[in-house]
């Protein structure tokens, strides 16, 4: 279990409303520092710049979906070790299992409860070695 507390979270999500809710949930309830990226095409650079402790990816996004972005992050030396959690409305269990085997930390299903979201993230964070 890692001793470092979870402080910086980057969330890649195209829906502006959900962006705001997640930001509010993590900042207000979870007391974390949050960076939201709306365009998955620029997400890799943004993540490198922000240096988060953990990355949250939406599953379905226009332009590039979450799993594709996840694979790109795994190819990038500066981001390949970042823990990644998927936020998804349709969790195809087979694909999820495959992503887990590639190193995804877990998945939180949509709709999530904003007041419980920070706790859920921390619970997954605490499973890290």
């Amino acid at each position: 279990m890692t001793t470092k507390p979870l402080e910086r979270v980057c969330y890649v999500e195209d829906d502006e409303d959900i962006q705001r809710i997640v930001r509010m949930s993590l900042e207000r309830v979870g007391k974390m520092t949050v960076e939201i990226v709306g365009d998955p095409m620029v997400a890799v650079e943004a993540i490198i710049r922000f240096k988060p402790d953990l990355v949250m990816l939406d599953w379905m996004m226009p332009g590039m979906d979450g799993p594709t972005l996840f694979r790109k992050l795994k190819e990038e030396p500066q981001t390949k070790n970042l823990p990644v959690i998927f936020i998804t409305a349709k969790a195809a269990s087979a694909e999820l299992a495959e992503l887990r085997s590639l190193g995804a930390l877990g998945a939180i299903s949509k709709p999530f409860a904003p007041k419980d979201l920070p706790d859920q993230l921390r619970a997954l964070w605490n499973t890290l070695p």
């Binding site: 829906d15 809710i21 509010m24 309830v29 409305a89 709709p111 904003p114």
Partner: protein
């Protein structure tokens, strides 16, 4: 029976071998015929004996021999009477012992012969030459006359003739003149010649009877054969009628069937088609019959039914089903069909024709596609905005953004609750759709049922609190391991608990129990609610089942919960049910196969809620 009658009328003789036929083997029956012939001639013999006896007595009357003559007549009449009696008893015989009757006849023949022999011997010496000539002629005549009477069994004749010949030859030689003595030497020759004739007649008789016997047998066999042929003919007629009937039935099936049926020859030429096929392809029968089906009905396509597929199919001699076959209608419209091609094969194994049965599944596929699209829309497009709605309301209601005015807080709570309800409905619809389309996958693991129950009770405490209902479970549960999908099992227990809580009276309790029943474990959720109305019991596990539609508004819920529970539990190889709870209320239970179980320990269970 008719064959026997016909056979009997063909031989109307008074005396026949036997009227109980067929008795014994053919040889026996031929012998019977020969014996019967002897008896038929017997009366003629007796009559001739008497007539000749009278002639002889009158012509050769000598007063000195009166006593001897009378004596001879007594003997003659006795023998004749005995032979007639034998004839009568033969007619009334009950047995088929032909040898016995033959022996008696032979004795009669010998007696008749000896009687004449003695007559010759006694009367010959006492008469004049002329009278002796007459007597010799008469005796010779009697010897010859016996032939037709006795020759059907030659040795009876031999006995008869010997009876006459031996004494007569003796007196000829002893008492006759020189000429008679020479004649006596010829008598044995005469005897042998006559016996030889009788013997040959016997063979002719035997042959005749044998032929008759054969004919009878053949006639009988032919009758049987005719009967058999008639029977087979009848069977053939019946079979033809059946074939015609089933042919009519098949035609009717094809005529009225909603499935398109076409018959092709091995070169894919259309031979026959039904009205449904006309409808499917838009061609009238006349437009397709005799034309090549491959060119007319299927698009030129690398896949599907093309020339090379058809060749492979015909040489493979196996039915083929194509569940996505593109077809072209007369108006050029392409449709998607499902077709089965079945080759009909003759006795030599050659394909004589091909029956194709199919239907248009274009609309079905479209409906399937729409359903998929709808499901995907439900799952993503509806849930995404709901995430925002419920998320926003939850953040507001959680108080992290500051306290709300009381009325506002009440309204936002109502909004959040109903948003959640809408989400539950969507989730339930997705679940049931997935389950029913067979796309639902469980992730079974080995789980401790007792601790899972404890956790689920904790999860549902806040919901129960809303109805002011207590969830209670014994803190000493048996430890049971089952193989199940934990997430889905929690869903089932949650569903049953929330139903129980909703229908419990305020301040009441919902009791959860866990019992081991052999190799199964039963989890029961008992409430003190109003019970299940009688008329609702049979459809409680159906989709959109609710006892009272007003209950939806009052209690929430989608009417899908129990239907999903039932299917989930069945997918986990369990069963689900309910019963009236003694003292009022209802018990819902489900049972799962047990992997491993330990009896209840004294240790309090983790997560037990009091």
């Amino acid at each position: 029976m008719s064959t026997q009658a016909a056979h009997t009328t063909a031989y109307p003789d008074e005396v026949v071998a036997t009227d109980r036929e067929p008795a014994g083997d053919p040889e026996h029956r031929v012998l019977a015929d020969r014996v019967a012939h002897l008896y038929r001639q017997s009366n003629l013999g007796i009559l001739l004996t008497l007539i000749v006896g009278v002639i002889v007595s009158v012509e050769l009357w000598v007063p000195a021999y009166r006593d001897v003559t009378i004596m001879w007549w007594l003997i003659t009449i006795s023998i004749s009477a005995a032979r007639y009696a034998l004839y009568r008893s033969y007619l009334q015989r009950a047995d088929t012992d032909e040898q016995k009757w033959l022996r008696w006849m032979a004795i009669g023949a010998l007696a008749a012969g000896v009687n004449w022999g003695i007559a010759g011997a006694v009367f010959f010496p006492s008469h004049s030459n002329n009278q002796q000539v007459l007597l010799a002629f008469i005796l010779a005549g009697l010897i010859s006359g016996g032939i037709p009477v006795f020759s059907s069994v030659w040795w009876t004749y031999a006995l008869y003739a010997a009876g006459i010949t031996l004494p007569f030859a003796y007196v000829l030689a002893a008492f006759g003149n020189h000429m008679f003595a020479q004649l006596a030497m010829l008598v044995p020759v005469f005897y042998v010649a006559n016996v030889a004739i009788a013997y040959r007649l016997d063979k002719v008789f035997s042959g005749g009877f044998k032929a008759r016997e054969d004919y009878t047998r053949i006639a009988r066999e032919q009758d049987a054969m005719n009967a058999q042929i008639e029977e087979q003919l009848q069977e053939l007629l019946n079979a033809r009628r059946e074939v015609e009937a089933s042919g009519r039935k098949l035609t009717l099936f094809a005529e009225r069937a909603p499935i398109a049926v076409l018959e092709f020859d091995p070169n894919a030429t259309v031979l026959e088609m039904n009205p449904a096929a006309e409808n499917l392809f838009g061609y009238a029968i006349g437009e397709l019959i005799g034309r090549n089906g491959l060119q007319m009905l299927f698009p030129v396509d690398e896949f599907g039914v093309n020339d090379s597929w058809w060749r492979d199919f015909v040489s493979g001699v196996r039915p083929a089903t194509l569940d996505r076959l593109r077809c072209v209608r007369r108006d050029g419209l392409e449709i998607m069909c499902e077709f089965t091609f079945t080759p009909l094969v003759n006795d030599e194994g050659d394909v004589i024709s091909i029956i194709a049965q199919g239907r248009d599944i274009t609309q079905e596929l479209e409906a399937e596609r729409l359903k998929k699209e709808f499901t995907s829309t439900l799952s993503h497009e509806l849930r995404t905005p709901l995430t925002s709605i419920i998320g926003s309301l939850q953040l507001i209601n959680s108080g992290v953004l500051g306290d709300l005015e009381k009325d506002v807080a009440e309204l936002t709570t109502i909004a959040e609750r109903n948003g959640q309800r809408l989400l539950d409905l969507i989730n339930d619809l997705l679940d049931i759709e997935k389950i029913e389309s067979g796309k639902f996958e469980l992730s079974p693991e080995i789980i401790s049922l007792d601790s899972l129950l404890g956790d689920t009770l904790v999860l549902n405490k806040s919901f129960a609190d809303r109805y002011n209902v207590r969830l209670a479970m014994d803190d000493r549960l048996p430890q049971v391991k089952v193989e199940a999908d934990p997430k889905r099992l929690v869903q089932v227990v949650t569903n049953l608990l929330s139903n129980a809580a909703k229908f419990s009276p305020e301040g009441g309790a919902v009791d959860v129990t866990l019992e081991l029943l052999g190799d199964r474990v039963r989890i029961s959720i008992h409430d003190r609610g109003p019970g299940i109305p009688q008329e609702f019991r049979s459809r409680i596990f159906s989709r959109f089942a609710q006892a009272d539609s007003t209950a939806t508004r009052q209690k929430g819920g989608t009417g899908l919960g129990l239907a999903i529970c039932k299917r989930l539990i069945e997918m986990m190889h369990g069963s689900i049910g309910f019963e009236n709870r003694p003292g009022g209320g209802t018990t819902f239970y489900f049972e799962l196969p047990v992997l491993e179980a330990k009896a209840a320990s004294a240790m309090p269970q983790q997560g037990a809620v009091q």
